[in-house]
C-alpha cells in the first residue's frame, strides 16, 4: 500500500490530486508514518529547490540509475522524470529559474527512487545495483541535509542586498555560481557513472562546502564589538 501512495506524494504537495484522491491519501497519511516522513522530506526538498538558483545538470542522472538497477522501464503508474520536469517548469513559474525546477525534479525523482529501491527486492540485487543504491542514498541525504539550510542562508545573504554591502554580495554570487557549476558537473558525472561512490561523496562534499561557505561569510561579515 505504501508504495502506491509514495508515488503520489509529490502530486499531493503540488495540489494535483482530485478531491477523492486527496481525501484517500489524507486518510492513508493518518495511519502511515512512513508516508508522513516521506511527505515531510519532499516538503523540505521543495523548500530548498524553491530558493535554488544554481546551475542545473546538463543531463538527468536518474535514468542511468534506473537502468543500472534493473534495466527496467518505469512502471505504468509512475511518471517519467522528463515529464515531471516539464510539468514542474510550468508550475513553479517565473520566480524560479529553470535550474530550480530541474533540481526539484531530480531530487524529487531520487526521493521516489530511493523509496522504491529500498523496498524489498524480488531478486537479489547485483553488486552494481547495490553501489548505485548506496550512491543515490548519499546524494539524497546530502540534498536533504544541506539543501534547506543552504536555501535559507542563500536567501538571507544574497537575495536581500541590504544585509551585505554590494561588493560582498557580488563576490558571494560569483562564488556560489562557481560551486553551483561544480555541483552540476558532479551530477552530470553521476549520470554517466551512477555507481561511483566517489562522485556521490563529491556531490555531498560540494553541498557541504556550499553551506560552510555561506556560514563562513555570515560569520566573517559580523564584527563584534
Amino acid at each position: 500500500m505504501t508504495d502506491s501512495w509514495t508515488e503520489r506524494l509529490s502530486d499531493y504537495l503540488d495540489d494535483e490530486l482530485t478531491l477523492g484522491e486527496r481525501a484517500a491519501l489524507d486518510a492513508h497519511l493518518a495511519g502511515c508514518a512512513t508516508c508522513r516522513d516521506d511527505l515531510a522530506r519532499l516538503g523540505r526538498v521543495r523548500s530548498w529547490a524553491a530558493g535554488y538558483e544554481g546551475s542545473a545538470p546538463r543531463t538527468d542522472p536518474w535514468p542511468g540509475i534506473r537502468r543500472a538497477l534493473g534495466r527496467r522501464e518505469p512502471q505504468a503508474d509512475t511518471v517519467p522524470l522528463a515529464a515531471r520536469r516539464r510539468r514542474r517548469t510550468v508550475r513553479l513559474g517565473a520566480p524560479l529559474a529553470l535550474a530550480a525546477s530541474l533540481v526539484f525534479a531530480t531530487v524529487s525523482g531520487v526521493t521516489w527512487w530511493v523509496a522504491r529501491a529500498t523496498a524489498p527486492a524480488r531478486t537479489a540485487p547485483t553488486a552494481d545495483a547495490m553501489a548505485v543504491r548506496a550512491a543515490a542514498s548519499v546524494t539524497l541525504h546530502a540534498a536533504e541535509s544541506y539543501g534547506v539550510a543552504i536555501g535559507e542562508l542563500e536567501r538571507a545573504l544574497v537575495d536581500r542586498p541590504e544585509r551585505l554591502d554590494s561588493t560582498t554580495v557580488r563576490v558571494l554570487r560569483e562564488k556560489l555560481a562557481s560551486i553551483d557549476a561544480a555541483i552540476a558537473e558532479a551530477l552530470d558525472a553521476l549520470a554517466q557513472d551512477p555507481a561511483s561512490g566517489y562522485l556521490a561523496d563529491h556531490f555531498a562534499d560540494l553541498m557541504r562546502r556550499k553551506l560552510s561557505l555561506l556560514r563562513n561569510v555570515a560569520s566573517t561579515a559580523s564584527f563584534e564589538s
Partner: protein, 309 residues
C-alpha cells in the same frame, strides 16, 4: 560666509589628530581592535604594556575601553554603529544586517602588545598584519588581506575578499577566504584551509591533521605525514600536488573523474579508475592521506631534501 570659509580653511590646515598612548594591561586581557576602514598592524614586545598609535581623525577619534576581559580599540563613530552592522541570527535561524554606516574615517593603527596577548582583529574594509605573536589570534575582515607571523593555540583567519597568509604558527588553525589565496608556512598542530577559487599553498607543515579544500584552485602541500595523522585534500577543478619526505608512511586514497595521476611512490592504477577510489600503502601505512580532485591532476612527489623533516 567669509567667517565660515576662514574657519573651514583653518581646520583643514590643522594636522589630523593622532593617537599615541601606552598603558598597562592585566594578564588574560584580550586586545580587540575593530576598524571600519584602513589598516591594523600589530607588533609585540615582552613588556606588559600596550601602545596604541593611530592616525585617527579629530571628528572620529579613537576610543580605548578596558574591561576585565579585554581592551577594546575603535573609533567613536564606528563604535556607534558597529553593533548595527552585525550579522545576527533571528529566531528562525536566519541572518540579517543593520543599516550601513556612513562617514566613517580611514584609520591606520600600529599597536604593540605583550607577545602572548590574545588578539581579536578585523572590520569591513581593513588589512591586518600581525608580527611576532605567541598568543591566540582571531581575524575577520570583509575586504582586506591578512598576514600573520606567529600565533599559538586557536588561530582563526577569515577574509571574504582577500588573501590570507600565516607563518610560524602552532595550534589549531582555521583559514578561510571566499575570494583569495590561502598560504601557510611552517605551521604545526592542526590546520584547515578553505577557499573557493583561490590557491592553497601549505609549505613546511608539521601537523597531525590537515584539511584543504578549494573548488577552482590548486592545492600544494609540502610537509610531513604523522603516523597518527589524517590529511585530506580536495579540489574540483584544480591540481593537487603533495611533496612528501622519503620516509613517509601512509595509506593513500586517491580519486579523480577527469584528471591524471602520478606518484613517486609505487602504485598501479586499475584499468577502470575514473570515478573510483584507489587505495595504496607506503611504508607501514600509518597515516591516512586522501586526495580527491574532480577535474584536476594528482601528483605525489617525494624529495630527498625533504627527508630531514
Amino acid at each position: 560666509m567669509l567667517l565660515h570659509v576662514l574657519v573651514g580653511a583653518a581646520l583643514a590646515a590643522m594636522p589630523p589628530q593622532e593617537t599615541d598612548t601606552t598603558f598597562a594591561v592585566r594578564a588574560g586581557q584580550r586586545l580587540n581592535v575593530s576598524n571600519f576602514e584602513g589598516e591594523i598592524v600589530i607588533r609585540t614586545w615582552t613588556r606588559n604594556l600596550v601602545r596604541v598609535r593611530a592616525d585617527d581623525d579629530r571628528d572620529d577619534p579613537v576610543r580605548i575601553e578596558s574591561t576585565p576581559s579585554e581592551v577594546l580599540v575603535r573609533t567613536a563613530g564606528w563604535a556607534a554603529v558597529a553593533d548595527e552592522f552585525d550579522v545576527v541570527r533571528t529566531e528562525a535561524g536566519l541572518v540579517r544586517r543593520g543599516r550601513r554606516p556612513r562617514d566613517l574615517s580611514h584609520v591606520s593603527y600600529e599597536i604593540t602588545v605583550p607577545e602572548t596577548m590574545a588578539l581579536m582583529l578585523g572590520g569591513p574594509n581593513t588589512d591586518v598584519t600581525v608580527e611576532g605573536s605567541r598568543g591566540e589570534v582571531t581575524v575577520k575582515v570583509s575586504e582586506g588581506d591578512i598576514e600573520v607571523h606567529g600565533g599559538r593555540g586557536r588561530i582563526s583567519l577569515a577574509s571574504i575578499e582577500g588573501d590570507i597568509s600565516l607563518f610560524d604558527a602552532q595550534g589549531e588553525v582555521k583559514l578561510f577566504s571566499l575570494d583569495g589565496d590561502v598560504t601557510a608556512e611552517r605551521v604545526s598542530g592542526r590546520i584547515t584551509a578553505e577557499t573557493t577559487d583561490g590557491e592553497i599553498a601549505l609549505d613546511g607543515i608539521r601537523c597531525t591533521e590537515v584539511g584543504a579544500t578549494t573548488t577552482g584552485g590548486d592545492i600544494d602541500f609540502d610537509g610531513t605525514i604523522d603516523p597518527r595523522g589524517a590529511y585530506q585534500f580536495a579540489s574540483h577543478n584544480g591540481d593537487v600536488t603533495l611533496d612528501l619526505p622519503l620516509g613517509t608512511s601512509a595509506r593513500f586514497t586517491i580519486a579523480t573523474w577527469e584528471g591524471d595521476v602520478s606518484s613517486d611512490f609505487p602504485m598501479t592504477l586499475p584499468e577502470r579508475f575514473s570515478g573510483r577510489r584507489l587505495t595504496f600503502t607506503v611504508g607501514s601505512g600509518a597515516g591516512e592521506v586522501t586526495v580527491e580532485t574532480f577535474d584536476g591532476d594528482i601528483d605525489i612527489r617525494t624529495s630527498a631534501h625533504r627527508s630531514d623533516f
